[in-house]
């Protein structure tokens, strides 16, 4: 019924994009209300679609349009349980953030471009979520990358924003190429790019080929979801407006990589899942450690996002299909909330350095409360949403591998540490120099904060309303059985792990409280004691340095050689041919004397030659 019209969902924001580009100029808020109304309509439609999927319990796949008549290229829609969850996240959070933008972007000189690019992003993200085949998915994926690039570089006059946009584009491009290679391998070997057809063919396919293809597809997810070693672009992407960070770099686009892994989950082999798990674990721990030392409010949250994306990846890697998606769902609420709070704080204080802030609670009670809710949920302390998904993840990881469990548990402690460190420094304590003139932000900005707070508090309780069995319907039946069997091993230890994780979080919170609020130990002295570690962390494990070394020293020198070959060999050949014909022409033009009788003589000469040939051939030409 309604689900058959799901194609309208991405179409409406796309129309908004066109309308704003064409007619937004000079309108109030640069056409912001066009974006709000059309994206709002799209949200209602997607909520109706989701309701239908929930009520009927069936996914829907359209027959699709045959593209270019190529076999297996059917461009259609697939709205199943997994897409429904993503659809919910993208449309609801997209709408909330567009409303918040009305307040946040007020007075910016270029709001028209902002709303146009945001609409384009939401349109492509919605298309990505409901595409039924990997080629259409890839097209939407690239559009998402493009709009992310445009929005990171929104304030392109700032050199740091322009270079951050370029960095994000180039780094994710590495992943995109791998994803494309993976899709091509699947198409060559299995002859289709339709996701559901791939599920049917996968069990009979060559395991080595599947491992390679899924690893390449995971490479795409590593780029987009900012996993180690391609995580370097996300912290720099904070140069964009904070609303962009909240929507694209916390709730939706970065989770597209996780969604991709979940989308083609039945194709993954145990070998490729092992890589997924370890990459996720390493990312979670590394990013959480870096988040502890950062002093820019948005960067702390950015590293936190990388860390939590690592949690989702590790969950998917260890077979916790539900755990990963559940955490994705919860994370998008509390992380979007935290970003919007950070946006409100930046809006009020005009700085991003947390040491200039402090004591903001009294000035901004609503933002402070919302931030506290987000922090509580993120830290994974019961009973709010972050706790439920983190609990399932730890359960699954424990059943898989104990070393990986230790890594993940370390990341959980650090999560609690960095987020409450941020909260205490920004909102508690004595007033910083930027706090004095701060005041609570306008209604249009606090209302979205409250809406997202409700999501951050209660989204975790969906686990009691059959979210798991709902989600599992989007996987083929035999796989569900295998996953259930794997998680049954952990059933005996489940309670202990829950108590263990709660105490981990409590240790983290108490430590932060002791250091930053009660000042039992000075933060500076801790930093001094562990100064080598601090240096490594503040330099982001030197990964940026390594990449710069590779690109400036190695790739640059290769480019110089290639340039030399191009200039002297390739260009040399082409120019040589050109020079030869010029020289030949210079001689030949002497024939054009301007005397008409010379030409007549040549005509006679030519005719004579023809006649001689005529004679030699015996009168036949």
């Amino acid at each position: 019924m309604i689900v058959e019209y799901a194609w309208i969902i991405p179409l409406l924001p796309a129309i908004a994009f066109l309308l704003i580009v064409l007619f937004g100029k000079g309108r109030k808020e640069g056409g912001g209300y066009i974006a709000v109304s059309l994206i709002g309509t799209s949200m209602i439609l997607s909520l109706l679609t989701i309701a239908e999927v929930v009520l009927t319990g069936k996914g829907y796949e359209s027959t699709g349009i045959n593209w270019l008549g190529i076999k297996g290229f059917q461009f259609g829609l697939l709205v199943d349980q997994l897409s429904s969850i993503m659809l919910f996240v993208v449309s609801v959070i997209g709408f909330v953030i567009i409303v918040y933008s009305l307040g946040y972007m007020k007075g910016d000189h270029d709001v028209q471009r902002y709303y146009a690019e945001m609409s384009l992003f939401i349109a492509s993200m919605l298309a990505l979520v409901i595409s039924s085949n990997l080629v259409l998915f890839f097209i939407a994926w690239e559009f998402v990358g493009l709009s992310s690039y445009l929005l990171i570089g929104f304030w392109y006059r700032k050199p740091s924003a322009a270079s951050a946009a370029k960095k994000a584009f180039l780094v994710t491009r590495v992943g995109d190429i791998m994803l494309l290679a993976g899709i091509i391998i699947l198409y060559i070997n299995l002859g289709t790019v339709n996701i559901r057809e791939l599920f049917v063919l996968a069990p009979h396919a060559n395991v080595g080929m599947l491992t390679l293809a899924t690893l390449l597809i995971f490479g795409g997810a590593v780029g987009k979801s900012s996993q180690f070693p391609l995580h370097v672009w996300l912290p720099d992407a904070m140069e964009g407006p904070t609303t962009v960070s909240a929507l694209i770099h916390a709730a939706t686009m970065v989770t597209a990589g996780i969604f991709l892994v979940a989308r083609v989950y039945p194709l993954f082999t145990p070998e490729s899942l092992m890589v997924v798990a370890w990459i996720g674990g390493i990312t979670a721990l590394m990013a959480a450690a870096m988040a502890v030392v950062m002093t820019d409010i948005k960067r702390v949250i950015a590293y936190s996002t990388i860390s939590h994306l690592g949690f989702m990846t590790v969950a998917l890697g260890v077979g916790g299909y539900f755990a990963g998606i559940f955490h994705l769902f919860n994370h998008s609420f509390f992380k979007a909330l935290l970003f919007l709070c950070a946006g409100a704080v930046i809006h009020a204080t005009h700085t991003q350095d947390i040491h200039d802030m402090g004591g903001l609670w009294k000035k901004m009670p609503i933002t402070g409360t919302a931030f506290f809710i987000g922090a509580w949920s993120l830290s994974g302390f019961p009973p709010w949403s972050g706790f439920w998904s983190k609990d399932v993840i730890l359960d699954n990881v424990y059943a898989y591998n104990h070393v990986l469990f230790a890594i993940t548990a370390g990341a959980v402690i650090l999560s609690a540490v960095y987020i409450f460190r941020l909260f205490i420094i920004v909102f508690m304590g004595k007033e910083g120099k930027a706090t004095k003139h701060a005041h609570e932000v306008s209604r249009v900005m606090t209302t979205p904060l409250i809406a997202l707070s409700i999501g951050a508090l209660f989204s975790g309780f969906l686990v009691f309303f059959g979210l798991k069995s709902f989600l599992m319907k989007s996987l083929p039946g035999n796989l569900v059985g295998a996953l259930d069997k794997a998680s049954a091993i952990s059933a005996g230890t489940h309670e202990y792990i829950t108590y263990f994780s709660i105490s981990l979080v409590a240790i983290g919170i108490i430590t932060v409280w002791a250091v930053y609020s009660l000042k039992i130990v000075e933060a500076r002295s801790i930093r001094h004691t562990f100064s080598p570690i601090h240096t490594i962390l503040i330099n982001k494990f030197y990964i940026d340095h390594i990449y710069l070394f590779i690109s400036k020293k190695i790739i640059w020198n290769i480019s110089v050689i290639v340039d030399y070959i191009d200039e002297y060999f390739v260009d040399g050949t082409v120019n040589g041919i050109g020079k030869l014909s010029i020289a030949f022409g210079r001689k030949l033009r002497k024939l054009q004397t301007g005397v008409v009788q010379d030409y007549a003589a040549w005509v006679l000469f030519g005719t004579g030659i023809i006649l001689i040939i005529f004679k030699a051939k015996g009168g036949m030409i």
């Binding site: 002497k590 301007g594 005397v595 008409v596 009788q597």
Partner: protein, 102 residues
């Protein structure tokens, strides 16, 4: 009495054509060049009429008539061009009228 075959006519035609061609290539005066071209055309006419007469086919003679008419037109155009050249260059010496060269 020698029998006059088509061969004799062809030899005559070749001689006249060669005279015309030589005149065309060697004369400096533009009017002489036009006259040489007329001679060459008439050599062709002799050819056409001779073949026509010996084969009993009138087509060749019709062609010759056409050639004469067109030669007249060509001479008109050629002389007009020469007149125009004389006005702008002050000479009809073809060696001196060689502006269109490299």
């Amino acid at each position: 009495m020698i029998e006059v075959t088509v061969f004799y006519y062809l030899v005559l035609s070749v001689i006249i054509f060669s005279i015309g061609a030589y005149g065309m290539l060697s004369s400096k005066n533009g009017v002489r060049l036009l006259m040489s071209i007329e001679i060459m055309l008439n050599a062709v006419n002799i050819n056409l009429v001779a073949f026509s007469s010996f084969q009993g086919n009138l087509t060749g003679q019709v062609f010759a008539a056409f050639t004469i008419a067109i030669a007249a037109a060509e001479a008109t155009v050629g002389l007009a061009i020469l007149l125009a050249l004389y006005r702008s260059f002050g000479t009809v010496n073809l060696r001196k009228i060689s502006k269109m060269r490299w």
